[in-house]
Subunit: 468 residues, 2 copies
């Protein structure tokens, strides 16, 4: 790593910081070339400010992370922990003069235990790497954010990531049994357990999950695994309106079905995917619903759900014949965001989750907002969870359109709250939504959350400027 | 409520407390007769000290709970929240001069929503009442502690209760989406959400679950529900040793099966159940394993699991023919603790959970401990979770036997920790295990947990003397 030796002109403060960091880190784990450090400044969120890191560190051991945190505490330097920076809320964005603490080199799978159905991993393990490794033992690690081929387990824990599987299998939080966390002052805290159950003391594990690196640095995780389910089979149903598709969602859930996936793509999204992939999805439809089952008899479940879709007004219901066809439909859904990004100049991806009984109202409301602000807003949704991703498309060079984009983005969150929902179903608060967090959780909520933050980070050096 | 008007001789402090409580509570909600208040002093734990409450209050509204907490804060009086007092760790035991805050009168089911699959309830709702109410909507609230016919949802939340269903459906914590909590100073905090997903801020909901009333008073809960599964079918397998039964458990879990119940009863337990019920369970067996499936084809699943039991050395495998036979077997398991209690003079029920791969070592270790201390220790276990309930039987009138009982009880926890387990799988810490909590979570854990406690309860009035 020659690059790390090309140093920026260093002032005394930074010089002292670098010297002390190098006391406990190998030379190649301390990056200071400004071109290099600048490349660590951002995650994938739009509209989020990022500063210039003083240094990027890439520790490989728990002791090295402890050394970094002890140094940061001693010198009162802010620390921004990072995984693969695939986040969508700016939670991993650097602040000026910070230490970027990248956990990507701590990427070992330490244990996979099929009887206990657990895996023990370091935070830098890629989600897909873990998924494939546990598959070889007949096991399944469900959380599957769209970025699963590149995102890290540590990042998933930091943001409590979701994915397509959540309607049946829940989010990352539900798979974290225990954590090793390096605290702000460098001490090591172990939380949770490696047992199936356990209630010894407060559940600090869950406090760290979704805390966006603002309470401590996760250096090891004990994860719960499921047995690998049968291959899922997917059905596609076309609707003449988003309202009818949402009605189908309600009937499916009310009917007691447990799909392994229940996704919605609106016409804008379908067209964008077709433009990108030439998949030939039906563009005449206003809403495409994808449902899947990974049960013993998925064809029977799809038939039952297909009938419910027809009863709700589906104009066409097409069950996939086999795994290959199913995979193609999933691929279409997974490409929704990239496809919308490709068609638009710039996009802002919202992440509002409402009670699923309100999904229809939510999507109609987004249509009204798009009209009001004269913008294209494509909607894809984890419909079974009521988790919508309205994608606001705009030209970032046009100040008026940019302003309208930001306003519509906010109005979508306001609508979500009005409908009893949350401003973020799975992407987190970060920088992007911190003004909105207080609107959701109220003044008492903010006060208690800030007080909890202060317990773990009395100097305010852990990912400052995020969440609150 | 005439009783509440017969008052204990009141000193000035208590008089002031009662006057202020009555300012915001109806007369019948304030109990002061010492015979009556004494009846609220204990939960169902052995060996846990209980003091004499100054008063028992039975609020019916959130505002009344807020009034109680404001009063307690103003006068610095400790508050002990209570549900049905079926707990097994002394977490609901009164301390001298405290306000016992019984939530049993706040017992309304406020909402059941089959599309959103949620219920909104007050804390005093009985678990069985909720279970039956949601069943009528085709829904299922899984957590089923043994005391489910009498225990309250608030108590279940306070202790993060488990039950027989956990091997497939998890514990209470996994069903709590959001809470309304009255804080120590009387303010109302809302946590969580009513949506399927949500990551707005720190997960304070889970912090309250299992906190044994030491952080705030839960006055409303939003609970997740599942669709009602098919009726489960149960199989009983007899083994010539507990080790062989544990081997079967490992093979079942390693084989990717998802039983809805996987329970173990040792010979002592089987004999006790027979004595109580004349059920005619096989007494020649050293260990009886019960497995159940609530799948689409439970008979097929039972056949597969039965074969694994035989491969692990089962001497006999008997699948139930129908729901009635299944229910009888479940009844036997549910009666294990009462039956052991009936045969012994006094019992102490331990609750050590180990990784399920260590279950055999755990049970063998308990046998060694029983021998060492010359005591009968029956073991029943949520085997699929590795959660053992060794029941130490002894004569409380015999000081030496009582001492040996207490020592063996502790040694069982020590063994659990050695095997990578936890001192409590589902019963909680309360008073009974507070010396052991520190051994499990270590000094950094204790320090951080105490600091979190201080955030929510700076005056230390919420259930003092529990957990730490």
């Amino acid at each position: 790593m020659i690059m790390s030796r090309i140093e920026a002109p260093r002032d005394e403060v930074t010089g002292n910081l670098l010297d002390r960091l190098r006391d406990g880190l190998p030379a190649e784990a301390v990056l200071t070339d400004p071109d290099v450090t600048a490349s660590y400044a951002n995650d994938m969120a739009s509209f989020c400010a990022a500063g210039a890191p003083a240094v990027v560190v890439l520790p490989r051991t728990v002791e090295q992370v402890q050394h970094v945190m002890r140094t940061a505490t001693a010198l009162r330097v802010p620390v921004v922990p990072q995984g693969a920076r695939t986040g969508l809320s700016g939670a991993a964005n650097a602040s000026d003069g910070c230490i970027v603490l990248s956990l990507t080199k701590m990427d070992r799978i330490l244990e996979i235990n099929p009887v206990d159905r657990i895996a023990v991993v370091e935070p830098g393990v890629i989600n897909a790497t873990l998924s494939r490794a546990v598959n070889e033992h007949g096991l399944y690690y469900p959380p599957d954010p769209s970025s699963w081929e590149t995102c890290t387990i540590g990042g998933n824990i930091g943001t409590a990531s979701g994915g397509l599987c959540c309607v049946k299998y829940g989010v990352t939080a539900e798979y974290v049994l225990g954590l090793d966390v390096v605290l702000a002052d460098g001490r090591l805290l172990s939380t949770g357990r490696r047992t199936a159950k356990g209630v010894a003391g407060y559940d600090l594990t869950r406090l760290f999950v979704g805390s966006e690196g603002s309470l401590g640095i996760v250096v090891r995780a004990i994860l719960a695994l499921k047995p690998q389910p049968p291959q899922q089979l997917v059905l596609a149903a076309e609707f003449a309106s988003a309202a009818a598709a949402c009605e189908a969602v309600c009937r499916i859930m009310d009917g007691g079905h447990v799909p392994s996936l229940l996704e919605l793509m609106d016409r804008t999204t379908v067209k964008a995917v077709n433009e990108m992939t030439h998949m030939g999805l039906p563009e005449s439809t206003e809403a495409l619903l994808l449902a899947a089952f990974d049960t013993a008899d998925p064809a029977a479940d799809l038939a039952a759900v297909g009938a419910l879709c027809e009863a709700a007004g589906a104009t066409q219901v097409v069950p996939a014949d086999d795994a290959a066809e199913s995979e193609l439909l999933l691929q279409a859904r997974r490409l929704s965001l990239p496809a919308l990004e490709a068609t638009a100049g710039t996009t802002m991806i919202d992440d509002v989750c409402v009670p699923r009984s309100k999904l229809g109202e939510m999507i109609e409301g987004v249509e009204r907002i798009a009209e009001k602000y004269r913008l294209t807003i494509g909607v894809c949704a984890h419909a079974g969870d009521g988790n919508t991703h309205p994608v606001v498309c705009f030209d970032a060079q046009d100040p008026d359109e940019s302003r309208r984009a930001r306003e519509s983005f906010d109005e979508i969150m306001g609508l979500g709250l009005e409908l009893g929902g949350t401003i973020t179903g799975e992407h987190g608060v970060g920088i992007l939504k911190k003004e909105w967090l207080a609107r959701e959780i109220g003044p008492v909520g903010v006060e208690m959350q800030r007080a909890v933050k202060h317990v773990f980070d009395p100097l305010g050096i852990l990912n400052p400027g995020k969440l609150f």
